[in-house]
């Protein structure tokens, strides 16, 4: 059940009605309904994986209590590593086993030996990377005594399985979400209105921007050997907007949906393509994952403290792990590696926190400085996205090589019967619209909200892509 599907359009109003009109007597009733709805939502993909989700929830709930009640440090450590081991074990088996088996056999073959790897060929349970990280953050926080273990199983289960964030985040923290699910929610018109606006804007990003860009990006990436430099540059730009529209659109719908139930989720995107350097980009892109890695990996490793080599080591670890989190493929590792290379000069020159605030009112002189900064950051990001999108490392290098060697910039007609430049105007308008609303969570709220709603609906109806159903990219992670 995708957020942009008819089934979700039926599911959401039903749950909303039951939540506010039938199960509104107590927090327990509200949470029980949301748990049932969440498990139904998840089972719509594959009901068999529901057992995995319930098991993972039960394990973390139980081990968290055991950690907290441990009488010795050793016992505490044992329960902690059981939980971490089982959680990462599931992730490893479902997501990474085949990759390692194939890579190892290729390595063996490289030495002239015969290898016939045993592959599991398992279907990846949707959202496993997200709910595993949910559980891990909770367990680590308990172990580090930052929070108390949750005694109420329903409240904890809702924290892990809450349907708006279940399959593609944002990756919530117990300190943020649990206090909200532990109290009875009452209806707040302003919050619900914002939620509707955010859902609408998320749909525009997904159905209009991401899905339109996907058609063009696919046409370029799947046939890059016959593309000229202009098409290849545009292909990378189209993919940059495809993944942004897709994932930030999904996050907007998730956050908006959650607001309808009186629960605020963590912000996941903050206009990342207006970043002035890569460090700022990573503070604005997939914020919940970046901050997860910062808090649970980078800082425990020593962060930016210590010597130069430690900083370099930690930077590469965090970006490589982040890349690998996205998928078991060398392309994701290369993407992470490239981002580490981008980030390192800023870190070593202590400029990684130069741009932390919003871009305030811009004068002409400031604009002249901003444009190259934003442009360069966007170009570097697009270059990295090529690795993220390419099927193999060879394809990625082939794509980049051709982009810088073909040197032809004529309009090209794709096999999808579209010219390469056709989407540029739409993207320019989209960027402009986002630029002028960059201080807001979504651009619809505020003055003239009704005309803006009408405009969003018109854009959705006229420019949305409905013919070829596409799921959200981040569901595969």
């Amino acid at each position: 059940m995708f957020f942009n599907s008819l089934s979700f359009a039926i599911f959401l109003p039903i749950v909303f009605f039951l939540y506010w009109f039938v199960f509104n007597s107590s927090k327990k009733a509200q949470n029980t309904l949301l748990i049932i709805a969440s498990y139904y939502f998840y089972s719509c993909w594959d009901w068999r994986f529901l057992f995995l989700l319930v098991f993972s929830t039960g394990l973390d709930y139980f081990t968290a209590l055991k950690i907290e009640n441990s009488r010795s440090k050793a016992e505490r450590k044992t329960w902690f590593w059981i939980s971490v081991g089982v959680n990462l074990g599931f992730l490893g088996v479902f997501k990474y086993y085949d990759f390692f088996a194939v890579s190892f056999s290729k390595l063996i073959e490289g030495f002239g030996m015969q290898a016939n790897p045993f592959l599991l060929n398992l279907v990846l349970p949707v959202g496993i990377s997200f709910y595993t990280f949910h559980g891990l953050s909770y367990i680590i926080d308990i172990y580090k005594e930052r929070i108390r273990a949750e005694r109420n199983f329903i409240d904890y289960a809702l924290f892990v399985s809450y349907f708006p964030l279940l399959v593609a985040g944002p990756i919530e923290r117990a300190t943020h979400l649990l206090p909200q699910v532990k109290v009875k929610r009452s209806f707040d018109y302003q919050q619900a209105k914002e939620g509707i606006h955010q859902i609408l804007w998320g749909l525009v990003k997904k159905i209009v921007i991401a899905d339109s860009c996907a058609q063009y990006a696919n046409a370029v990436f799947d046939n890059y050997e016959s593309m000229n430099s202009l098409s290849l540059v545009l292909g990378a730009v189209y993919f940059a907007f495809q993944i942004y529209g897709d994932f930030s659109g999904y996050s907007d719908i998730a956050l908006g949906t959650s607001k309808l139930f009186g629960i605020n989720l963590l912000k996941n995107f903050d206009y990342p393509y207006f970043s002035r350097d890569i460090a700022e980009f990573w503070r604005r892109w997939h914020i919940s994952l970046s901050s997860w890695f910062r808090d649970y990996l980078y800082i425990p490793l020593g962060g930016s403290q210590g010597g130069t080599w430690m900083k370099i080591r930690n930077t590469f670890i965090i970006f490589l792990v982040s890349g690998f989190w996205h998928g078991a493929n060398w392309t994701f590792l290369a993407w992470g590696f490239l981002n580490a290379l981008y980030f390192l000069p800023l870190l070593l020159s202590n400029k990684n926190r130069t741009h932390t605030g919003n871009i305030e009112g811009v004068s002409f002189i400031q604009g002249m400085k901003l444009i190259p900064q934003i442009g360069l950051t966007f170009a570097l990001t697009c270059l990295a996205w090529i690795f993220f999108r390419a099927r193999t490392i060879t394809d990625a290098f082939g794509y980049i090589k051709r982009m810088f060697s073909n040197w032809q910039f004529k309009p090209q007609y794709f096999n999808i019967e579209r010219y390469n430049f056709e989407l540029v105007l739409m993207l320019v308008l989209f960027v402009g619209f986002e630029w002028f609303n960059r201080y807001k969570i979504e651009p619809i709220s505020g003055k003239y909200s009704y005309p803006k709603i009408c405009l969003a609906i018109i854009v959705l109806l006229l420019f949305g892509v409905y013919s070829e159903y596409k799921s959200f990219i981040y569901f595969q992670f």
């Binding site: 009408c454 609906i457 892509v465 013919s467």
Partner: protein, 295 residues
């Protein structure tokens, strides 16, 4: 909560009104526009005689050089091959031609692996959707063949959204500004570039279905309307010739004229499509075999 429900109501009402408005505007534009696809062109053909009509997929559109046939035979020829078309598309076009009182001297239908496909195609049915409420033939055809018929017919704007690739905003805008199609529909021939692109992945099916319902309907319609029909299979490149699929097809259609193994690889654009030169050679073969005596 009341305020919220009112807001949702206003949004839903706005959406429904916009859907109705867009549905009306799109339909009017498509009905009044110049032909931008072969379906619309066929809808405009009325009360005339065409000596040779070719139906099929891109293996007709790219292969049948209509101008050459006109030069060689001095007859009126129409190439109605459409890229990606299936027998279902061909059947609908044939029905429209007959309905519009177009007399067909001889019908040429290209049949190959598409014989294995009975399912509906999105090509002609998509292009015909703007006329679903105005054309009886289209309505009847889609009612029988398309599982989404009721939604297409009754839900405003649904047909344009679901088929946006063919009849969405891009096509609507091109129709509004009367942008001419690259294809000359009076001719219908679209030659491929000269370059041969290896297409080693292309394979003919291993097995053949017992019978094709749509093929039988076309055959029956031609018999009923006394239309002489020639079934033929256009050439394939050498890498797919090992397959015995075409032999199986010939057993299903004994009158099938098999050209699948007739041309050299140098005359191909890819394994299933001839280049411009190949199309000329193949067209001459067809003229010699099927039209020469009528000159």
């Amino acid at each position: 909560m009341q305020q919220f429900i009112r807001k949702i109501g206003v949004i839903l009402l706005t959406t429904v009104l916009l859907l109705c408005l867009f549905d009306w505007a799109y339909t009017e534009v498509y009905v009044c526009s110049i032909p931008r696809n072969k379906t619309k062109y066929v809808l405009g053909l009325k009360d005339q005689k065409i000596d040779y009509v070719f139906l099929g997929s891109s293996r007709v559109e790219n292969h049948i050089d209509t101008q050459l046939i006109k030069t060689l035979t001095s007859k009126k020829v129409l190439n109605l091959g459409i890229q990606g078309a299936k027998l279902d598309d061909n059947y609908l076009l044939l029905q429209l031609l007959i309905h519009n009182n177009v007399k067909i001297g001889k019908l040429f239908l290209q049949v190959d692996y598409i014989f294995n496909t009975e399912s509906i195609s999105t090509i002609v049915s998509s292009e015909s959707l703007p006329y679903i409420r105005k054309n009886e033939i289209i309505r009847n055809h889609l009612e029988k063949s398309n599982p989404d018929y009721l939604a297409y017919y009754y839900l405003p704007f649904y047909r344009y959204q679901v088929n946006d690739y063919k009849i969405g905003f891009r096509e609507f805008f091109s129709s509004v500004i009367s942008k001419k199609s690259k294809t000359d529909f009076t001719d219908g021939f679209v030659p491929k570039q000269v370059k041969f692109i290896k297409n080693n992945n292309f394979r003919l099916p291993d097995s053949i279905i017992a019978q094709n319902k749509v093929f039988n309907q076309i055959d029956q319609l031609c018999k009923d309307k006394n239309i002489e029909v020639i079934y033929f299979c256009a050439p394939f490149c050498s890498t797919v010739r090992q397959s015995d699929y075409i032999d199986k097809l010939k057993r299903k259609i004994p009158s099938l004229k098999d050209y699948s193994k007739t041309l050299d690889d140098t005359l191909f654009y890819n394994c299933g499509h001839l280049n411009g030169e190949g199309a000329k050679v193949f067209t001459r073969m067809l003229v010699k075999d099927c039209m020469q005596h009528e000159k």
